[in-house]
Symmetry: C2
Subunit: 198 residues, 2 copies
DNA sequence: CAACCCACATACGATTCGTATGCGAAAGGA
DNA sequence: TCCTTTCGCATACGAATCGTATGTGGGTTG
């Protein structure tokens, strides 16, 4: 059975709504984005939106999901290029801080996401970044590279530190300079998790 | 000159509105809290609210301010009881994680605050917790206890780690057990900032 | 070809916010 | 003492927005 044309256009409209929502949420924030304007910009009406996403939160969830997957892919690509696993983790952390500099990610994923969807780890997307960090930590603990630390806790704290660093950098007057300070502090802090931090 | 009675009652009404707002924001979240219900619960109307706080965001700012000061006082009290400054900082970090377990603090200060008011460090209250952490770090760097790290960056990252740990703990099924794991990981992580972490 | 289904549009009611205006009580001067 | 002004707050109004309930047209199925 070949997919019907109706289905194809529906997927298309879903994608167009998500794209329009990314723009609107990033610019005005979730709370101040009008769904009438949003859907009109996509050439549709609220009818399509409620049919595809249930409600406004459903649309936000879909948007966060999409961005989250993109973030995971980009971070993964950076980590894969480095052989030493610890250095790879540090690079991913730095990359994560830089990622959060993008207004879209900051506004939607870091601010509105937790506020309106709740704890990121319980999102369907499972916050992919955190997930990969956790498995990486688990491996290094097994290898004795890292001290015997709870992998989930370590991943949580490192991500939290990076996240907050990103908010700090983004709000500063001189992002480039502050970015370097943040990354340096991140490396120093992470050192504590090594088996032989000296 | 004695204060006029009108002023006294006005301060009283301000306080009553803030108290009602704390309850409403904590229970329903900032976005879903109705100002009509809010003010009615305080025995007033929206007129008083707009007169005292300008708009809804102004009320949120006042609420966040009040809670933030309470948090700083409680953390300070814990840190003051410990002589060794490093151990005091660790204790404050742990206390901060525990503080964030309270739904009121979590919902209002950690989720809605950043989402609707922007970066915490630029709030009028200046996020007192972070401020004291920063000065503490500065002293220890000068004493050679801590490695030569940027005090602002270190304070930012430590607070971020603690904040995220708290969100994690609060969302978990067994908060007490997870709390211990979070605090242990926090201490291990922070070790990296010491001059001699071995 | 007729009945049906589905994706989406339209119409409507219910909240909620911000502002503009009204009112009563206290303060101050003649 | 009386009149006027000020101030804190209530009331009234308009605008915006969300969710639901209903309508509709093109494609599908029997």
């Amino acid at each position: 059975m070949t997919p019907r044309k109706r289905v194809e256009t529906m997927e298309e409209n879903r994608a167009r709504l998500i794209t329009a929502a990314r723009r609107a949420f990033a610019e005005k924030g979730y709370a101040n984005a009008s769904m009438d304007d949003l859907t009109a910009a996509a050439g549709l009406t609220r009818g399509a939106l409620y049919h595809s996403f249930g409600d406004k939160r459903g649309l936000l969830a879909a948007v966060v999901n999409q961005i989250d997957e993109e973030m995971a892919a980009r971070a993964q690509a950076i980590g894969d290029r480095i052989d030493d696993e610890w250095e790879a983790l540090m690079a991913v952390g730095a990359a994560y801080i830089e990622l959060a500099l993008e207004p879209e990610i900051q506004r939607i994923v870091l601010l509105d996401g937790p506020a309106f969807l709740g704890d990121p780890l319980q999102w369907p997307s499972q916050n992919s970044c955190l997930q990969s960090t956790q498995t990486s930590v688990r491996r290094m603990v097994a290898q004795g590279v890292m001290a015997p630390v709870d992998p989930e806790a370590a991943a949580r704290l490192m991500n939290g530190a990076a996240l907050n660093a990103a908010l700090w950098v983004a709000a500063s007057d001189d992002p480039q300079a502050v970015l370097q300070r943040a990354i340096d502090a991140f490396r120093l802090l992470s050192r504590g998790l090594l088996a032989r931090p000296g």
